[in-house]
């Protein structure tokens, strides 16, 4: 594997994680968390773990986001921090 791709994707993952926990809107958190999961899935595909990447793409980025949005729909978008 090429180390520049690895390093760039890993940096994006860390930025997405920081953004997901700092943004002051829970719907924004849901979408940023989905982006985080997709980048993580890319990282695993680069690393050769195809099964894990496939699972993360369908489970982490797909269904988890849907659950999160459904829960935000039934509670509130408001967050203090």
């Amino acid at each position: 594997m090429l180390w520049p791709i690895d390093l760039i994707v890993l940096t994006f993952v860390i930025f997405c994680a920081i953004a997901a926990i700092t943004v002051r809107d829970l719907l924004g958190t849901a979408i940023l968390f989905s982006a985080y999961s997709f980048l993580m899935c890319l990282l695993w595909a680069v690393m050769g773990a195809v099964d894990v990447a496939f699972t993360e793409a369908s489970v982490g980025a797909g269904v988890s986001t849907v659950f999160f949005v459904a829960a935000v729909f039934r509670t509130s978008r408001r967050t203090k921090d």
Binding site: I14, Y36, R74
Partner: protein, 138 residues
């Protein structure tokens, strides 16, 4: 300076994984909103999974699907070398962990909805206040 560059190339991945883990841990401790805490928990979880998967990586190896193994005809002719394929064992263990993580995430979301139904808030400090109000009322 001559020693430090190979060390960075060999270890920078692990350092960045630890940064990711600590972001998740900080969110779990310091954030006030319950859903933010859950996102922190999931970040922590994926960082650990990432660390495990990266342990199985080998330089110059390919994905763990045996070439020509379909049907088992040609596989007997060629000898399989373990160094040619990435270690599948961490992948299996972490596949289990990902699926369990989505199950726990679903239950956690159900709990959040239930808490909101009862107390109309997801903020930790307001929640603590309302719980103590309810206790003094009774």
């Amino acid at each position: 300076m001559g020693d430090i560059l190979p060390l960075i190339v060999a270890k920078y991945n692990f350092w960045l994984y630890i940064v990711l883990m600590m972001i998740g841990l900080y969110a779990m401790i310091a954030k006030n909103n319950l859903m933010k805490k859950l996102v922190g928990m999931n970040i922590f979880q994926t960082a650990i999974i990432l660390f495990y998967v990266s342990i199985g990586y080998k330089h110059g190896a390919t994905i763990p699907i045996i070439q020509g193994g379909h049907g088992g005809h040609s596989a007997h002719d060629a000898v399989i070398h373990a160094a040619d394929y990435i270690n599948p064992l961490p992948h299996v263990l972490m596949l289990t962990a990902i699926v369990v993580s989505v199950a726990t995430f679903g239950v956690a979301m159900a709990l959040c909805v239930r808490i909101y139904q009862r107390y109309q808030t997801l903020e930790e400090d307001e929640l603590r206040m309302r719980v103590s109000e309810m206790i003094t009322h009774e």
